[in-house]
Symmetry: C3
Subunit: 366 residues, 3 copies
């Protein structure tokens, strides 16, 4: 299986990356170091010194440059080596590390692992409900030992609520609710609706449904490549007027660590106009949702991955149900995008630099 | 190396499998789920939902059917999917899991991993001394990180008692005793005899030999494919009349977990006519024997496996001694049986179901 | 990557090997058992019984022979099987284990993994400062999860002191000092010199430099195949007369455990004529040096190994700096020696014994 390289991925939450301590994360099977330069801008470089392959993330930031912890070479935020403390200080022409285009928005740092020349023209996906000016936001993170597409399948088919999360998110009514999916060749939408549902207390409370009252719930899931999902939940007490509907929005960003593990970034936003109640609700919702994600979804995803092993998903001949329509749409779109991702350049560092192999730099001596 | 598929293997002790909690065990490299249906009969199915490969053993038993923990498909004890809670409830024709023939006897649940049509005609091996009506029985289990044939070698050559178990089972006299082996092309017998042996206290006590008295001991080992051994120990004080001989019978059932790990099931039986002494002796014997099995045999078997790694046993060019005759007989029989085991069907789930790969069921759709 | 087999390697410190308890160590990817025979001479044999591959190191030494812990075969210090306790006691001609030539000197047991006929003619390398008659010696050991050549690179380029060991061994002055390297096609010398250096307290104290005083420091490193390094440190206070120079000598012996792990033996010697101060200084120096080796070098070497994985070092296209000259010289010499190491015999036990595979010894039988 291949990755889609020419795309924006979430590399980290903004708060994870500082100007002081370089931060290391494996992304799409490559070690990446993240830090902030003098202006506070996020920098993403290969986390591997080209000299002796030391992890640069164990070094320190000196005047906005990253210093290798082994022999002190320094790299600018462009990836170029700008200081060699040894000998006559000459800097070999091959001494540089790959720099990845980055952007910062929605409380996250985004990285472009593909051809850097293509990055500028591609906008980020929209997650307006995470703009901190207008919204209270909360965040959660899980490292999942399963392919990112299994996580996308999970989110694109919320019929599992009743089976995997019966005590927090599910209900028998929801499991039997109506289901629709569609796509425009690039995005996928799935909508699940249930009427007169008896919600679990955690959900009822979050959406202001009185104890014992029945409610109508809609779950709208939007998937965008390479693994960026938005879930909109709309809830109102059954027979209450439409204007009493309360809406919850969450983002679910999936970034492959390797082919069989995924960084799962979860973020939730509520309008600041809700005041203190919104601020509190964001926090309790993140905590309440992370529990089933961590204790129920994650073990299931990892069990699926173990069952699949290194095999191709389709070679396992999965039985298809109506509930899989959204997930299959997204898998087909990803397969098409990966097949046409020819512009992705060689992903192996050694390939990029192989030109100089066997030709020791002139600086070597005596 | 291949397994022998058309054969009865022990999957579990009877007490391990209940009607409430599905039980998961890897057998011959395949995940199997065991539970009991409404009638109490043991059921063995592939522990992998054909929809998204969730382990069914994490689900629950509902009206004698097994419910998938992820999306709620239910499977009858035949392996057939009988309930789809989603959409119009139609059940795709490919929605089923492999069901393994099972039998229950001698305190164990037996499974037939090969062609199910051949199972009925093949009787279980005889272990009459484990019939609970006439015998007190006791059981022990160890998961051993070594190929099952190394465990069979170990049991077919009890000359190791003196070296590996000098303080519990061995004696110098036994090591020098006489040894005979034979086979009929399908079973192997090994007999080791020692005269006027000074037994270790644990053995002397178990067979009623007075402290300090010498005894004659016979160890009869019977091996049957695929790895079912019976050990009969006969002991009497030297020069005592034959009718004072006491006999201990034990079963040693080896079921491959993988090519390099083995489920070792140990069971022991004493006639109920012995009364309370028999009941107590069974228990103390199991405890007394499991200690050297776990602390001395298991580490040795695992060290052998590490030394062999993924290589073929014969490619290691083992030096042959007279004591190996029984083990070699059993290895030769297994090699012949495996070679003629053509009727074993494809052991890979994906192969079985590949017919439907790439052909999404009609049920799929928005 | 291949190993150089026809060479003397350190297998263990002398104190690690006794006449009572066989000692097991993986050397150049082979399990080796070390013990002392009746005369106290060190014996090195393959740690694998040719009968059923039990680790002989778990057996016991009986009359200077090593007894297999599984079935009691005994092996003389020549590797020849001299006792079979079973049946008629005949010893199969193939029953022997490989014996490795050994020597004992400088507080270490040396082993020759290559063609034994070539061993006698090859002298050990010289480490005169570890002769216990004239020197107080101290020793340290680390198992490092990295290829031995990465450790050699580390020692041949002490410019890393300032970056990896800033608080114990390094200084900015040393990093900027002069550097020279040379080789004679078989040994490599690297010399790093610094003047008017402000030493870290640990170094200053060890070499008798008064607090606050500046000093001139020379670091002479000698590398000999296959991975035997001598470090001579010469220090005197700046402008003090030459005869006040104090000298510290240490040995750094690298023996591959596998291609990606290394036994690192460290030894230090100071002249006995220094009296009690020398004895104390040896001990405190070993402790003081092992701390940065273990806490700073080892994690870096292991991070390098993880970055390289199973790839060839040169295929990674490392950027070359002036400081790498010594390391590259040693790598080139090793590559030449390994290429001409044709006399190394087959390193796979099964290959050596394959002659008898499939031909069960006549002793086999009921």
């Amino acid at each position: 299986m291949a990755f889609l390289y020419n795309a924006w991925y979430v590399a980290a939450f903004s708060k994870e990356v500082t100007a002081q301590s370089p931060f290391s994360r494996m992304l799409l099977d490559r070690p990446v170091v993240l830090y902030r330069d003098g202006s506070g801008a996020a920098v993403a470089l290969d986390d591997r010194c080209p000299h002796r392959f030391a992890p640069l993330s164990r070094g320190r930031v000196v005047d906005g440059a990253l210093e290798c912890p082994y022999h002190g070479l320094r790299f600018a935020s462009t990836g170029k080596c700008i200081f060699n403390p040894h000998g006559d200080g000459r800097i070999p022409s091959a001494a540089g590390v790959r720099r990845y285009p980055t952007r910062e928005r929605y409380g996250a740092i985004w990285i472009w692992p593909g051809n850097p020349e293509l990055a500028d023209a591609v906008p980020l996906r929209e997650f307006g409900f995470l703009e901190p000016e207008q919204y209270f936001t909360g965040e959660g993170y899980l490292l999942t030992g399963a392919n990112y597409q299994l996580s996308a399948d999970n989110l694109l088919d919320l019929s599992h609520f009743q089976y995997l999360h019966p005590n927090t998110l599910g209900s028998d009514t929801l499991a039997r609710g109506t289901l629709q999916s569609s796509d425009d060749g690039e995005k996928v939408w799935v909508c699940r609706q249930a009427s007169a549902e008896l919600l679990q207390p955690f959900v009822a409370q979050g959406f202001g449904v009185s104890p014992g009252k029945r409610a109508d719930r809609e779950l709208h899931v939007r998937w965008e490549p390479p693994g960026l999902l938005t879930v909109m939940v709309r809830v109102r007490e059954t027979d209450a007027p439409p204007e009493t509907t309360r809406v919850g929005m969450s983002a679910h960003w999936l970034t492959p660590e390797t082919e069989s593990s995924t960084h799962y970034f979860f973020a939730l936003g509520l309008p600041r106009e809700m005041g203190e109640e919104g601020r509190t609700l964001v926090q309790s919702s993140v905590e309440g949702l992370m529990a089933p994600f961590r204790d129920e979804d994650l073990p299931m995803l990892e069990a699926q991955q173990r069952a699949i092993g290194t095999r191709d998903f389709w070679a396992m001949a999965p039985v298809m149900l109506s509930i899989d329509a959204g997930a299959i749409r997204s898998r087909r779109i990803m397969e098409r995008l990966i097949a046409s991702d020819g512009a992705a350049f060689d992903t192996d560092l050694s390939g990029v630099l192989r030109g100089v192999a066997g030709r020791p730099d002139r600086e070597v001596g005596p």
